[in-house]
Subunit: 250 residues, 2 copies
DNA sequence: TCGAGTCTTACTCAGTCTGAGAACAACGAG
DNA sequence: CTCGTTGTTCTCAGACTGAGTAAGACTCGA
């Protein structure tokens, strides 16, 4: 048996059937109290003119870096400008059915991104345009992107329960009511204000008080709310469970 | 712009840097009350002689099918013989750091498999041998497989809480005590028998009674336990929470 | 065959958590 | 100023949880 050096030198990477690896990003944000997803309109074949998730081929970089790069390209935001640094990015899962892309065998690693309200994206890359769309108006998407979006939403809704993810949707300092609005937007249901308040403050490490109060109350009155920052918890314990998904869900 | 047919005909799949896609399987089972993982000893370079997770290159098949095939090849089990059909298989996540494989850029889609006690594997494929190893004795593994295994264990421990996954580790009919042994093995701690019993029976759809009792009691006495089958729930509600991971985990 | 020890199952009880509702004060809009 | 809205705090009954106890049923070894 040859030694490892010889083996690597003689190794032929072309010996396998060609496969491409892409990343696709399910980027979520909240605008006007509704959950939105970032979509692009495809400029080229296949699926020209269709809406799709932002994404592209992986280059010489980690998968995480590829996802962040694609997000930056499609939104026109630059890393280092501060906005993108506050985006929470995590891997969702991979999709690799033969035939999901008519060009060739493509395995796509999907990512989930959460951001505070971002500006309207500038067109860039090979996308004819990018825009935020309310998740319930996404409609048909190219490839299997509708399924990917559905998986992403499931994951997002579940993670709100046991992680402090909601803080990724709000600014640096926020009120409990803003946090509650995030939960309401993602879960699609109103939450009992009093109980939510009690719960959030009772979970260690979820939020910490800044000692300040907002300069102004809400548009429709009420006292000036207190401001909080995200705490140091990675897991919420105990969790904030969703209001009874009636037991039929199973 | 050419139409889609022309575009596809002229598309050159070789235009991108070569990437290979593999699947790696974290297969878990319980033997003698301890959680075991299936490992192979690598026969060829790179990492010849090292232990690794079973896995290999994806062929013209879905990712799920590739994972099942690799599992079958490494264990010597054939699909259709019944044993493999009862294996729970789910995607874990993908690993694609440049340099994780010295041969070329390799993106690996990791899978998690749960099975009732399987027979000792027969060697097969390019592995010099395959064997079940207690998870806490896995030691160093080839590539980044140690990290993959750790992620798989995390996922398994978490999923036990809110899904009926534990039933995938036991036979078709089982006792509550066998189910409790699964939780104890995966979580690494004993559980209060009475409370566990109450909890399992109170979660709708987790288990359903067969009406029968086991022919024999445990080795060290006790009454003949009743037998149960897995219910139709996909999610446990309410969940079986792990005994207080003391709040420092965050 | 008998006793010791083990195990399943059921029950109890105090502490905690939850959902629902009410109370109150602070605030904006008209 | 008045009214409706909102942030925050309480209260209360029901559900759930961990810990312990108890009654049998059974195996094993003496």
């Amino acid at each position: 048996m040859s030694d490892e050096r010889d083996f690597l030198d003689s190794y032929d990477p072309g010996a396998f059937a060609p496969v491409a690896v892409t990343v696709d990003v399910v980027a979520l944000t909240i605008r006007d109290g509704r959950l939105h997803v970032l979509l692009v309109e495809r400029g080229g074949h296949p699926f020209a003119g269709w809406r799709a998730l932002p994404g592209g081929f992986v280059q010489e970089e980690t998968l995480d870096a590829a996802a962040l790069r694609e997000l930056a390209e499609e939104t026109g935001l630059r890393p280092g400008e501060g906005v993108l640094d506050r985006v929470h990015l995590e891997q969702l899962r991979s999709y690799g059915d033969p035939g999901r892309d008519p060009r060739m065998r493509v395995v796509s690693v999907a990512y989930l991104a959460f951001a505070p309200s971002l500006p309207d994206p500038r067109a860039g890359g090979d996308a004819a345009g990018a825009f935020w769309v309310p998740v319930d108006e996404a409609g048909e998407l190219a490839f299997d992107h509708a399924a990917i979006l559905a998986d992403g939403l499931d994951r997002a809704r579940a993670k709100l329960e046991y992680t402090p993810l909601a803080t990724a949707f709000v600014g640096d300092e926020f009120t409990i009511a803003e946090l509650r609005a995030v939960y309401a937007a993602v879960w699609g249901e109103e939450l009992h204000a009093g109980n939510f308040h009690r719960k959030v403050l009772s979970v260690p490490g979820f939020v910490e008080s800044t000692g300040e109060t907002a300069g102004r109350a809400g548009e429709r009155g009420g006292p000036k709310p207190r401001l909080y920052r995200a705490g140091d918890a990675h897991l919420l314990h105990p969790a904030l469970l969703r209001p009874t998904r009636e037991d039929g869900v199973r």
